[in-house]
């Protein structure tokens, strides 16, 4: 009995651990998904303002990001078309070569994966620049083109990924099948096309998928080789650097949705194949019945998921959150009005005291992202004799409110719309 209770305790512990583990894995994704639908201009869940789908529109209207997406797609296609055949050739060479040379060749082929991407990126530019200059090519030529350089740079290490996939698959290939084909009159080319290539087909598919992903998400090589152009990833990175907004969460939602559709369809394919291979299909109630078979067919499932996603997009595009947003805006304005009233009341009470704020200037009071760090010294024409800086870029203050002494009322001036209203500058 004690053993049973101990077992129960163990089960609770493992369930708790499992829940924590999944929370750790998927918690960020869930929160990010939530922020994509909050109208707050900073990605956050609380305070929840309005349910909105506008961030998807913001995302799609971002020219730089969308141009980067097409550039990435083109580069990805180029990388797949070059890296997959190269990887296959490498894997075939590895499987055919004498064992003593194999280790050496493997090291050579795998090295680009181990070299830091930064080094690959820089060396790609330097190398092709040298080649281009040696050929007398103008700097507008192919070897100075960001897309070409990025494909060249990415292929160097992405083809090694493809090679690893092909090597794993080739290890399970029975070489007597090729011998049998030859013996039955096939030329070596026919044996390759009709026997080896069909066997490798799943590996070709996964290699193409993996190389596409590796190319798409690559940053540290691409950021050098893309030169003045931008891929999706580099555009995204620069966007993050200049300030984050929930359109990035919207992008994450799209990527998560595509991944889920792909994964569920893949699972359906695998289950169907397993059921057919094991011969269970004919006996199973699901696969044995024509309607059931149709219902769990991967194509049906894919169509269903795409239809669901389409419905969500259609519904989302029709959803209008402007009324709610206007309400929130109005609420905020009222709040600010009230705060200002209080402020004025307080100022009236302390009227005898000088209202001019003393140094240093209030952080966050001047609307600059640097919080006034360069407030006094960097302003052209600013003299050290004027210790109290006026806001460099006056923020749109709430209408109808005459600007009080700078720094004394931070609320309307910040881009955070009163988010930090509790933080008062000293002396305020």
């Amino acid at each position: 009995m004690s053993a049973a209770s101990a077992g129960g305790g163990g089960r609770w512990a493992s369930t708790g651990y499992g829940a924590l583990f999944y929370l750790f894995l998927f918690g960020p994704l869930l929160i990010m998904t939530g922020t994509a639908f909050n109208s707050s201009s900073f990605p956050r869940l609380s305070p929840w303002e309005c349910f909105t789908t506008d961030w998807f529109g913001v995302l799609l209207n971002d020219r730089r990001l969308m141009d980067g997406l097409w550039t990435s797609a083109g580069i990805g296609l180029g990388v797949v078309l070059i890296a997959v055949p190269m990887g296959l050739a490498g894997a075939l060479a590895l499987s055919e070569i004498a064992p003593r040379l194999r280790a050496a060749l493997y090291t050579v082929l795998i090295t680009p994966v181990l070299v830091p991407g930064v080094v690959l990126g820089i060396s790609t530019i330097v190398f092709w620049g040298q080649v281009g200059r040696a050929l007398g090519m103008p700097t507008t030529g192919l070897f100075f083109d960001g897309v070409f350089l990025t494909i060249a740079g990415q292929v160097t290490f992405v083809s090694a990924y493809a090679m690893l996939i092909f090597s794993a698959r080739l290890q399970r290939f029975d070489p007597t099948l090729t011998e049998a084909a030859l013996d039955l009159g096939a030329s070596p080319g026919q044996a390759f096309r009709k026997i080896l290539l069909p066997f490798l087909r799943p590996a070709i598919a996964s290699a193409a998928f993996l190389t596409l992903l590796a190319s798409f998400e690559n940053y540290n090589t691409t950021v050098f080789t893309i030169l003045a152009d931008a891929t999706f990833t580099t555009a995204l990175a620069s966007k993050v650097r200049y300030g984050i907004d929930p359109s990035l969460s919207a992008l994450a939602v799209i990527i998560i949705a595509l991944t889920l559709i792909g994964a569920i369809t893949h699972e359906a394919v695998m289950r169907r194949r397993a059921a057919i291979l094991s011969g269970r299909a004919a006996r199973s109630r699901l696969y044995g019945h024509p309607a059931g078979r149709l219902a769990v067919h991967p194509a049906t499932i894919l169509a269903l998921l795409v239809a669901l996603a389409g419905l969500a997009v259609w519904q989302g595009s029709r959803y209008d959150s402007s009324a709610c947003r206007a309400g929130v805006l109005e609420e905020r304005r009222a709040l600010q009005e009230k705060l200002m009233q209080e402020q004025r009341a307080r100022m009236r009470q302390t009227a005898p005291a000088p209202a001019v704020p003393t140094e240093p200037p209030a952080p966050g009071g001047n609307g600059s992202g640097f919080g006034g760090a360069f407030g006094s010294g960097l302003r052209p024409g600013g003299s050290s004799a004027a210790p109290a800086p006026t806001p460099a870029a006056p923020s749109p203050a709430a209408p109808g409110s005459p600007p009080p002494a700078p720094g004394s009322n931070p609320a309307p001036a910040t881009p955070f719309g009163g988010a930090f209203q509790g933080i008062r500058p000293p002396g305020g």
């Binding site: 029975d174 099948l177 011998e179 084909a181 030859l182 013996d183 039955l184 009159g185 096939a186």
Partner: protein, 366 residues
């Protein structure tokens, strides 16, 4: 002539290892020819050499009077059936069988027709659309044969094709293979380490040991009149009695052994000097209970194996074994029973002891 295979002093070396040593033999058209030997004796290498996957280091392989040097396996009039069959797992049965036609550019319709005809030949009509993994072992076996026949080869090479099957199926496939061979009239070259297969199916058998062809003969001759100690020990069970030659008259040899003076026959008309160390080979079924017999022994134990009873006896240090037809419980021998044993001297071979205790070990452990 068109289907003859001539191995003209073929030697195959891999580095310092000699896999096949100076093999010379002529296999005539329409023959069912077997290579028999323990694993690692070079028989598979020789087969791969005939089919074109291995080039001979020395000598020539001639097929239908033509030197096959630098003729690839896809250009030779041979078809090989692999030990693991090497059926193409991604193709249906019919696609497998029609593969040789596909690579020659035969139309889809023509391929299907030929595949169906071949499926009829191997008595598996209507399985053409099945996948290979849906067939049983014996069916796969026959599909592999049909696929090889679709090449329309002059010579069919078989590399231990029955070794993966269970006993009953193996025995059935022996008869089947022989019947197919007689129906299509091709030269079959068959590789096996199973002497039962070699003896039942073949017109002639070559016994190989350590890369050397020890004897080429009809199955009965291999069994009855082995030319070397290895052949005598490897093919069938046998009692080996060491001795020295006392005298020889004609083919009859008298020898002194630990069991007393015995008589045997000099295999292949060999002449022996008096005092030469030899071995006398007596098959268990030739050793019979005979009150007048020259050997005195005692029973150690008896094993029952259905149709036969194996008696293990001992005469001094010499272990002896005899096989008796099961004649019911009345014929059973208890341990310790005294025996008098005789044999037919004309069927007991005397062979030089010098060619290899090691070879006999290899034969007995195989």
């Amino acid at each position: 002539m068109t289907r003859d295979v001539l191995l003209d002093h073929v030697t195959i070396r891999f580095g310092s290892f000699t896999a096949v040593d100076n093999a010379y033999l002529n296999i005539s058209g329409g023959e069912f020819f077997s290579f028999l030997g323990p694993s690692g004796c070079g028989k598979t290498t020789l087969l791969r050499c005939i089919s074109g996957f291995v080039e001979p280091t020395e000598g020539r392989v001639m097929i239908a009077g033509q030197d096959m040097a630098r003729v690839g396996p896809n250009k030779r009039p041979t078809a090989l059936i692999f030990q693991n069959l090497a059926l193409f797992p991604l193709m249906s049965v019919a696609e497998n069988i029609a593969f040789p036609l596909e690579v020659r550019g035969v139309s889809r319709k023509g391929r299907r027709k030929r595949a169906d005809a071949l499926l009829d030949l191997i008595a598996l009509p209507g399985v053409g659309d099945k996948k290979v993994y849906e067939l049983s072992g014996g069916q796969r076996q026959r599909v592999a044969i049909a696929r090889a026949l679709a090449v329309e080869p002059d010579i069919l090479l078989l590399d231990e094709p029955l070794s993966a099957l269970d006993l009953k199926l193996r025995q059935h496939m022996r008869t089947e293979l022989r019947a197919i061979q007689q129906r299509v009239g091709l030269t079959f070259i068959y590789i096996t380490h199973d002497q039962g297969e070699a003896l039942t199916m073949s017109d002639r058998v070559a016994v190989m040991n350590r890369g050397v062809i020890e004897q080429v003969d009809a199955p009965t001759a291999i069994y009855e009149t082995p030319r070397t100690a290895f052949v005598a020990a490897f093919v069938g069970e046998t009692n080996v009695i060491p001795g020295t030659v006392l005298a020889q008259s004609g083919v009859q040899v008298r020898l002194g052994t630990p069991l007393g003076p015995l008589v045997g026959t000099a295999a292949g008309g060999r002449r022996y000097q008096a005092g030469e160390a030899v071995q006398l080979f007596v098959r268990p079924e030739q050793l019979v209970m005979d009150a007048e017999g020259p050997i005195a022994a005692t029973v150690e134990k008896e094993e029952f194996e259905g149709a036969t009873r194996h008696v293990f006896a001992r005469a001094g240090l010499q272990a002896l074994r005899l096989s008796r037809v099961n004649a019911g419980a009345a014929g059973a021998l208890g341990p310790g029973a005294p025996l008098r044993l005789g044999y037919d001297a004309a069927r007991a071979s005397v062979l030089p002891a010098s060619d290899g205790g090691g070879a006999i070990d290899a034969g007995l452990t195989a």
